[in-house]
């Protein structure tokens, strides 16, 4: 009898698909498709050409979302552990200031500068993770403080001035190759910033889904006590995810500096909220334990595409905020419906 059960395993192992949970699983992808179709329909046309679909316009969308997208990818790790990181926008700003300052004063060279800034970001994030785990503080509070600290450091270092980056081959000049971050490749179509986003996302997808570390992240978020009792190094995992958000914020800050040729202590404001919105729209649960990076990426691009359509039609920014808010609520409601349907006793 048990033998029969075991043999029938592969057949019965096929998941019975519930349309609603499938919809939620891919909600941001579906949302992105809907927004894209809407974009085509509502796009202004010039000489019969759909402006929304113009390569230039598409490139603009993916370039505009690359910074928050990079951050959202890291944020996905944190949120899967049921945490939150509010410091990312400020850390982006601090990283851009650091990058610009080092480029224009220290003359460290491109690679050392970039590595140093990313290491600083990771260290900043890890410090927040350590404080949060060591003193059992809510990550909300710790990273809220981290936001202030990062912003404050950026202001101190930059003296509240734009630090402009000039390129060249002498003291006080940044290596010209750094300017590539503002360029487009492949027939002037693909923005380099977007490529960075893609690379970060691919590496992250790999880490989350194909490594033991990724499994630890899910385990900690699913049930921290169970994970601890199962021998999962919970503290290490938590510190690591904040190091990851710090690290990607560093990357985003470098991209920011490279795209705009300056470092500024006042940029990146509100990026943490856009990133969190992308993650939530992407189907990752704020309760932790479940989530998808593909969803996050689609969520980020969707928000960018939506903003783009509204801009193309000259609809004012206030309406954009309303639309974004409505989408976040919709995504959350869908998730809650599925949770209720699963109805775990």
């Amino acid at each position: 009898m048990t033998q029969a059960v075991r043999e029938s395993l592969p057949a019965s192992a096929r998941r019975r698909l519930d349309p609603l949970s499938v919809a939620v699983r891919f909600q941001s992808v579906i949302g992105l498709i809907v927004v894209a179709i809407g974009g085509v329909i509502f796009s202004p046309r010039r000489h019969g050409v759909i402006l929304f679909l113009q390569p230039d316009n598409m490139a603009n969308i993916v370039r505009a979302v690359s910074e928050t997208g990079i951050i959202a990818v890291g944020m996905t790790f944190v949120i899967i552990t049921a945490g939150i990181d509010l410091s990312v926008g400020a850390l982006l700003s601090l990283s851009s200031v650091l990058t610009a300052t080092i480029m224009t004063t220290a003359g460290l060279g491109l690679i050392p500068t970039v590595l140093f800034v990313m290491a600083c970001g990771a260290a900043f994030g890890a410090a927040q993770g350590l404080i949060s785990t060591r003193f059992r503080l809510e990550p909300f509070i710790v990273t809220l403080a981290g936001l202030q600290v990062a912003r404050g450091l950026a202001l101190v270092i930059s003296n509240n001035q734009y630090i402009n980056i000039s390129y060249g081959d002498g003291p006080g000049l940044a290596p010209p190759s750094f300017a590539i971050l503002g360029d487009r490749l492949f027939d002037n179509v693909v923005p380099v910033a977007t490529l960075v986003f893609v690379v970060v996302a691919v590496v992250a997808v790999f880490m989350l889904n194909f490594t033991r570390f990724g499994r630890y992240v899910f385990a900690v978020g699913g049930n921290e006590r169970a994970a601890r009792l199962s021998g999962v190094p919970v503290t290490m995992v938590k510190v690591s995810v904040y190091a990851i958000t710090g690290f990607v914020s560093g990357i985003a800050g470098i991209v920011h500096a490279g795209q705009f040729n300056f470092g500024s202590a006042n940029d990146g404001t509100g990026y943490e909220l856009t990133a969190i919105a992308s993650v939530v729209i992407g189907g990752t649960s704020l309760f932790g334990g479940a989530g998808s990076l593909i969803g996050t990426v689609a969520g980020a691009v969707m928000l960018g595409a939506l903003a783009n359509i509204l801009q193309l039609n000259n609809i004012n920014a206030a309406l954009q905020l309303l639309a974004t808010g409505a989408i976040i609520v919709l995504a959350a409601v869908l998730q809650s419906l599925v949770r209720r349907r699963e109805g775990f006793r």
Binding site: L9, T211, R212, F213, R215, G289
Partner: protein
């Protein structure tokens, strides 16, 4: 009018999606009667009680209360009609204290301001009536499961003017508390309240119930007198005679896997309500199952978690040996490194990630073995998870199913299998069959014994004396953190209890 039963449910049907949970069930309850309801998980007893308490609306059938047809659209309607339920999942607010929980939703006020003094007084009186002493200021979340259960029962009593439904009220209680609860239940019934008593513990049924109804597969399998022999009840429950609840005992044992002599664990900072192991002498040999008896608060869970390095900062003193070597057991990593495995008594809170799949839960304690390197090996993961499923015959045997969707018994099998897959030399089990039906219990016992036969040492803490005496090769009694006696397999429940509960008054000072 007085001849009409208090409650008369007829031909009740209910289905969820495609699954028929109730297939035309009749159930009645008289005033002052304690009616025991037995049935395996999924037999339909919880569904019927959910209908009675207004949580679920039935598809068909008729329900009469005092002869009047009734139907409850929501739990509040049932409450208003004088029906109250104590669910297994206790509806308490963990962050509020005992008094606040007892008055939740009906707070006493004085001029619009909470009258804390009056509520504390009332709470103390109600608890005193049960002979229970509570620190009323303690948040409920800090209480043990057993004490939380008591608070929930006391809370429900405020509403139950006609019918009180107790859903496995004794699952987490010690023998002494069970007696207290039974006495209390009788007292309530004597006030012409009908009591529905759902239980998994067959042995307590004759002592508490006036009448027994057994459910199976959404039907009433039979009604019988509580004096009926246990074998008859079991046969009704599982639909076939069950050979033996407990497997044969072990015969040969190996070297000690665990030896404690004068062992004590001192937490770095004092923890109120946490009974530290103070003077523990016991050994568990390879192939042996040792039981840990003791009343609630005797320190059973504390001993197991401290051995597992999961009791927070602190250190062991005295002799603590794992497989003949001195061990510090100061962290979970250290304990696991020495081959200890632990199964918590709180499978939902600390054992499983409920929304995650069965497969992922099964391998969560052996991820290092699944993938020694950086990358996950999906093939190896599936292979090991399958092994876990077959080790405990988890049903349905589907790796991708969310573990929270399984029945309680199968969830418990997953928790056990997860630890067994890690191949510990010593397995620490805390209440391994809590909230599990008879059929699953038998399977779990058989498998624990099978593991011991393979050379595992097993230390089992349980509040169910028959379980300890039936399963274990010997039983050690713990009292206030000390081992005070040891019994062989022939001991009687009475003997062990006498030792476990002795000197309570004197030592309590």
């Amino acid at each position: 009018m007085t001849d009409a039963p208090l409650l008369d449910m007829r031909a009740i049907t209910k289905s969820f999606g495609g699954a028929q949970a109730l297939r035309g069930v009749d159930f009645s309850l008289k005033r002052g009667e304690i009616h025991a309801l037995l049935g395996e998980n999924g037999a339909g007893k919880s569904t019927l009680m959910n209908i009675l308490s207004g949580v679920i609306v039935p598809d068909g059938g008729e329900m009469r209360l005092d002869g009047e047809p009734v139907g409850f659209a929501d739990p509040r309607a049932a409450q208003t009609a004088g029906i109250a339920t104590v669910f297994q999942e206790l509806d308490l607010v963990p962050s509020l204290d005992v008094a606040a929980n007892l008055y939740l939703g009906r707070e006493l006020t004085r001029g619009g301001v909470l009258d804390r003094a009056a509520m504390r007084r009332g709470a103390r009186e109600r608890l005193m009536a049960l002979g229970i002493e509570f620190d009323l200021d303690q948040p409920v979340g800090e209480l043990s499961v057993g004490r939380r259960q008591i608070v929930a029962i006391v809370k429900a009593l405020t509403y139950a003017s006609r019918i009180l439904i107790l859903d496995e009220p004794t699952a987490a209680l010690t023998a002494a508390e069970v007696e207290r609860l039974i006495a209390l239940t009788r007292q309530i019934a004597s006030r012409a309240v009908g009591v529905v008593f759902i239980s998994h513990r067959l042995e307590e049924v004759p002592r508490v119930a006036d009448r027994v109804t057994v459910f199976r597969d959404g039907r009433v399998a039979g009604e019988t007198s509580p004096k009926a022999p246990q074998s008859e009840l079991v046969a009704l429950l599982v639909g076939r005679p069950l050979a033996e609840l407990f497997p044969r005992r072990g015969e040969t044992f190996g070297a000690p896997a665990l030896r404690l002599q004068g062992a004590a664990f001192r937490p770095t900072s004092a923890r109120p309500g946490w009974q530290a192991p103070r003077d523990v002498n016991l050994s568990v040999r390879a192939g042996e199952i040792v039981g840990l008896a003791g009343i609630m608060g005797a320190g059973r869970t504390e001993l197991l978690t401290a051995l597992y390095g999961a009791a927070g900062p602190g250190r062991w003193s005295g002799v603590v040996e794992i497989a003949g070597e001195r061990a510090k057991l100061s962290s979970i990593a250290d304990a696991r490194g020495r081959g200890l495995g632990f199964v918590t008594d709180d499978r939902r809170g600390a054992g499983l990630s409920l929304r995650d799949s069965v497969g992922r839960n099964l391998v969560s304690a052996i991820l290092k073995r699944v993938s020694p390197g950086f990358l996950m090996s999906r093939a190896r993961e599936t292979e090991l998870a399958r092994k876990g499923i077959s080790l405990f015959d988890v049903r349905p045997p589907r790796l991708e199913l969310a573990v929270g969707a399984l029945s309680g018994g199968n969830q418990q099998k997953v928790v056990l299998a997860k630890e067994v897959l890690a191949e510990p030399r010593l397995l620490l089990l805390d209440e391994p069959t809590r909230g599990v039906d008879v059929g699953a219990k038998q399977e779990i016992y058989a498998r624990i014994r099978g593991l011991a036969a393979q050379g595992f040492g097993v230390l089992v803490a349980s509040s169910e004396m028959p379980e300890l005496l039936g399963l274990c090769d010997h039983v050690v009694v713990l009292r206030r953190g000390r081992t005070v006696a040891e019994f062989g397999p022939g001991a009687s429940e009475h003997e062990v209890l006498a030792v476990a509960e002795a000197n309570e008054q004197r030592e309590a000072v």
